[in-house]
Symmetry: C2
Subunit: 384 residues, 2 copies
């Protein structure tokens, strides 16, 4: 090799300044803010992804994930990507071409599950509800009987609408019809009751940046024994190398075989965020989310802002607030960001321009945030 | 919804201690250590992934990636996963079922490219060289003529062997035969000369945790105009949702459409690592890597340790050092970790037990690390 240094083109060698970011209060659909302990864990001195010390830490993270999900699933790991990667991992591993996959679509994320399942060759069937509604067990039962799916996919917490799917009877129905139950818990895990094993859920995924209060970039995934059995019975390789859990499982399992380089610092942060949840206790955490959500709901109604989802099905972590007639949804979002450094979000699909999405997630579910946000929204409406 | 809190199972609610990790000097094949500026950037206060401030930062990162890769490719982004995800993204987007894909296999990562390409329905052809060897332009030319591939995949820097593939003539050969050139630059980017545009490379990927000196969990990807054209001509959707660059490109492009939540903190860290490279200048950085590698090579030979790769093709960032006869490779690795907090690595495949892999990457390519490592290895061999 000619080791002389050739001439470098400096056209793209731009000069930039040190990062100096505004102190945002993230009260949208995520990411949410995380606490200082998580920040410090994130920047802990690095070690290798096969270091004996890292392997200890992996085991602890897996066990704490089982706690927050209330599952005994051996295969419970953080995926080295965002929640969308963990979402795709469920289908990539458990769908074989031709499998009938039934998806409950009552918002954006049900649609996304359909899109993903189609890419793995599934015969996708949909049941629909309006954005903000949920399915009854009878509706689910009828659809299972009609379509006889191999997998039923539901969104426990629809981040696009703020609706929470009740889980009574659904898991048992799936078992009766020998169907795997796949559940999206991105916006509920760590913020609202989730009982994977009691609900007979076979596959679930989540994000780190919602009620877990860890930065985005690592995503919980769990596969129960029936899902693992389906994975092991596959006749074809998983059609996705990065998310192939027969390979990733050897890194997180007893073998510790290299697959890809784990994002070590993100793992440090996730472990700390989970430790904080274990210290607080799920019951207290869920109660706190509900208490602050109720204060938000009452406060919004007091200033004339209605709520899109019926209280019975309302997520404590994410609220869809109706934009009053004549108010420009985007202008209010911009006003809050500019004048208060508060991020709330608009919506997409049929709810675009009609609702704001307000998150009170994990570390951010605090009384002071509710009081400040209500005052800021009031100010924004008066200024509009 | 019944908002009463049900009884939680505390079986997996383990008590853990605060992270307290040993101060490892990471001189293996990666991750490498990063400097304090990157650590501070990583833990910068979080903002949303659609925040106007984040969008500014995205543009800067893209431009700096173009600089380190020496490319004008508009489509140059960090993928929200590790290097393996960016690796898979090249094939997932540019392979359509039946496409002939020719891969140069002279180490582990060539094999992995084959495995990935097969999952996307490619008709994979291989040319082989021994682990540690490289291909001549003539060998490549003959194989292209014989197989007429749609894509030729080569490993510029084979992390499994420490060999660097010379790139003269190869890109022009690919253009002659209307073949896309795909290049793995995981262990060379930021540590050895890489000139994507001059070499007529159409697709490339890298990792953040090697010579870029950023934590793992975010991975550079670039697609040139010919690759983008092939992507746009696809008759079928990309068979991978998370890595579908027709969707991801709308987030990194002018539209800024939501696809998945970007790992914001990892993006902060990557931007800072790239800024440091731009400040140092590629020429100085490459020269530094070569200087320290040469000192390592000389030092190893002085203590009777041979080098696996011919000097002409030797990577400055990763050295495969031959384990002397009668020495237990694993025992030395364990001795260095235990007594010096130094991580070096073994090898796999045909090199398992025969070589140690020693990385001097990015921030870690420094004289003091070479001197300490040589002394530590000498001690380990005497103690063995």
């Amino acid at each position: 090799m000619d080791h002389r240094i050739p001439v470098v083109d400096n056209k793209h060698r731009i000069t930039t300044t040190q990062l100096d970011l505004p102190p945002r209060l993230l009260l949208g659909p995520g990411p949410s803010n995380y606490c200082n302990r998580v920040r410090l864990a994130l920047s802990t001195n690095e070690i290798g992804h096969l270091d004996p010390k890292f392997i200890e830490l992996m085991n602890e993270t897996q066990e704490l994930l089982r706690y927050v999900w209330q599952t005994d699933n051996k295969f419970t790991i953080p995926v080295s990507g965002t929640g969308s990667a963990a979402m795709e991992a469920t289908l990539a591993n458990c769908v074989e071409p031709g499998d009938v996959v039934l998806i409950g679509v009552n918002g954006y994320f049900g649609d996304r599950l359909c899109d993903m399942a189609l890419r793995y060759g599934a015969d996708v069937r949909r049941i629909h509800k309006a954005w903000g509604d949920v399915f009854t067990p009878d509706e689910i039962g009828e659809a299972i009987e009609q379509h006889r799916p191999v997998i039923l996919g539901l969104i426990h917490a629809e981040t696009a609408t703020g609706a929470m799917q009740p889980m009574d009877r659904i898991g048992k129905l799936c078992r009766e019809f020998d169907c795997l139950l796949l559940l999206d818990t991105v916006t509920s895990l760590g913020g609202a009751p989730v009982f994977l094993d009691r609900w007979h859920v076979d596959m679930a995924y989540s994000g780190s940046q919602k009620c877990i209060s860890c930065p985005p970039g690592i995503a919980p995934l769990t596969l129960g024994p029936r899902a693992i059995e389906k994975l092991n019975r596959r006749k074809t390789k998983v059609a996705n190398w990065y998310l192939d859990m027969t390979l990733v499982g050897k890194y997180w399992g007893a073998e510790r075989t290299y697959h890809h380089t784990a994002p070590v610092n993100m793992n440090f942060a996730l472990r700390e965020a989970l430790r904080i949840i274990a210290e607080e206790g799920l019951e207290h955490r869920w109660e706190r989310h509900l208490r602050n959500a109720k204060a938000l709901w009452e406060g919004l109604e007091e200033i004339g802002i209605g709520l899109h989802v019926d209280e019975e099905y309302r997520l404590p972590s994410l609220t869809a607030a109706l934009v009053p007639d004549g108010v420009d949804a985007k202008a209010v979002i911009g006003y809050l960001l500019k004048n208060y450094n508060i991020e709330i979000s608009g919506a997409f699909g049929p709810l675009a321009g009609k609702v704001w999405r307000i998150g009170l997630m994990g570390h951010n579910s605090r009384k002071e945030n509710v009081v400040l946000l209500l005052a800021a929204i009031k100010d924004a409406l008066e200024a509009a």
